[in-house]
Symmetry: C2
């Protein structure tokens, strides 16, 4: 069907070897011939077949990227950087979504192996659950496929670029404590996630280390809006909230607002991610930047290092989050205002809730 080097060779009455040499900029071809080969290749609309090339060279030009959750906006900058860095080096990015499913992750990795990717970047499903590093990563390692684990779940002997999740919890808690808050709480701490657990642990530790009567009032996750309304209605409610991520923070701000409270006047909120909109909401979110571009950069560097030196010792890098103080956090209020039960304002809420699934 498509044009092959054979076609070019035949048309010129030369051999495929010569054509191949020209197309790969290899020496040993007379300039005149070279020019004619190039010309014919262009005329015929020749496009090299990468499958054939990969097959004979025993290596592909693919970088695989396997994400636990493609729907999560936090990975988009990472993906963009991977694509961009990969492109510079002549690689194509193969993408696969594990959709929080361990078995699907295994299948994704298997598919990547079948495509003989040159290297793999993985945000494992494990960090969303309590599982430890699943066996399929050990398999991958045993098969000597270059890959780098991302996220927060490392493993002895495996390359990884990890983020300090516990540290970010402490960072945010400390930020609130320094502002004068003593009663903190965590919102959105859905159980079973390692990332979440580590962030929570960080908050607890920072509060404990601080002393001076500082307490974590509440870190229940599943209670939802009604649960939080009940908490907010109490006079001894927390004044500083660590939200597990920006989206939760945004949601919590609506719960506050619907009850007539606001941040940072009544309650301070700090979260994690620094998604693109977080600076444009009001109050602008105090948050911790995940530095996804940097993580992508490091991840790719590590991957290429591994690809270049399959036998070098395991690499690990730990990256910190960066605090971005904005308007949603401030000193605690002098006076605890009453939280007006949101159910009385049901007209407004009903409207807000209507017509859209993503609410």
């Amino acid at each position: 069907m498509a044009v092959t080097i054979r076609d070019i060779a035949d048309l010129l009455g030369t051999s495929v070897a010569t054509v191949s040499r020209v197309l790969n900029d290899k020496p040993g071809v007379a300039p005149a011939r070279r020019a004619r080969v190039l010309q014919v290749a262009r005329d015929l609309g020749y496009s090299p077949n990468r499958s054939a090339r990969s097959l004979v060279l025993q290596r592909s030009q693919f970088i695989g990227f396997v994400v636990a959750d493609l729907g999560n906006p936090r990975y988009i900058d990472f993906l963009r950087c991977v694509e961009s860095i990969g492109r510079e080096r002549g690689y194509q990015v193969l993408i696969a979504d594990s959709a929080h499913d361990l078995e699907q992750e295994r299948q994704n990795l298997e598919a990547m192996v079948e495509h003989r990717v040159a290297g793999l970047l993985v945000f494992p499903v494990a960090e969303y659950h309590r599982e430890s590093t699943p066996e399929h990563f050990l398999d991958l390692h045993a098969r000597r496929i270059p890959f780098v684990l991302l996220g927060n779940v490392g493993h002895d002997g495996l390359d990884a670029v990890l983020a300090r999740e516990e540290e970010v919890g402490a960072l945010l808690a400390r930020h609130l404590l320094d502002l004068g808050h003593r009663r903190l709480a965590i919102v959105g701490a859905s159980p079973g996630s390692r990332t979440v657990e580590e962030r929570c642990a960080g908050v607890r530790k920072a509060v404990h280390a601080f002393g001076e009567g500082a307490v974590v009032v509440c870190e229940d996750a599943e209670m939802g809006a009604d649960g939080w309304r009940a908490v907010l209605a109490r006079s001894d409610r927390p004044t500083g909230m660590v939200a597990i991520n920006d989206e939760i923070a945004l949601w919590f701000l609506t719960v506050l607002r619907d009850g007539g409270l606001s941040a940072p006047d009544d309650i301070s909120v700090a979260s994690v991610d620094n998604l693109s909109w977080s600076s444009n909401v009001r109050p602008a979110l105090t948050t911790a930047d995940a530095c996804m571009e940097e993580r992508a950069q490091r991840g790719m560097e590590m991957l290429f290092a591994r690809m270049a030196a399959p036998d070098s010792p395991p690499m690990r890098e730990m990256l910190s989050y960066r605090l971005i103080p904005r308007g949603s956090s401030g000193p605690p209020p002098a006076r605890i205002r009453r939280y007006a039960d949101a159910s009385r304002r049901s007209d407004r809420r009903a409207r807000a809730a209507s017509g859209v699934e993503t609410l």
Copy 2:
């Protein structure tokens, strides 16, 4: 290096043909043999080489996805669906970012061809500029590569799943007009983008068709926050705003708020995209859902149809946006309140602006 069917065959003293048959679930192998082949394949950790397979079968299992701008969150749901639908059918997704660069787009398409993708989905760069369909798409068509154009720039003879950009402009304008607004404006209409131009045209047409003194006061894009502050300071300012997308709407709401105005009490805002956070900001954004999942679904269906019938006539589908009325739009105010010049509140703004590039 890796295990091949030859290894399996040799170990069992059988032929590669038999092994291939078993591995592809082809009939004509004795059950006992079949079982032993499978067993050995597993024991040896055999992983089929897709490059070899593609080469001999003359078709790959790749779907290529080329996006004008991977950084834009509006494409993420689309990507997720493509990946998911592709997976169901046994395809891997190859991704490439054109970064708004026409030449990069051309290179991306070329790379996809070199990988002999079974089919291609493309959000062209063109829709962000005024260019018409670039030649590389005609090339692609001439080479008989199955591909589907997405976005809003179609072309005779090329398959496409397009969104009615003009219609969405009209939809939003009409929404505001029906609420009673007569002085409308467009915010964020960066010039040179076809998508933007079409949306603007839609707004203008709807306003014109409505009559009754309705006018589009302003649709200048580049004036930025200061420009808008000047507009908002006028007593004859617009009361209904069509924002070119959710992010612009969010930004505009901050401009309003920083001047002491609010939506929908003083000014109504309606936008396009329905990004995930748009229902959780306050006021929740009235917006038009791009129905990315549906577009992905249609796009993939069309692509598979094209792959199955390369000679069938060109296909085109037009999808509408869906209005999602939320809190940011309401009736026009009875009284025009004064816009307090934001420069007097510089402390707040300075804080919001500090420390982050993404602002």
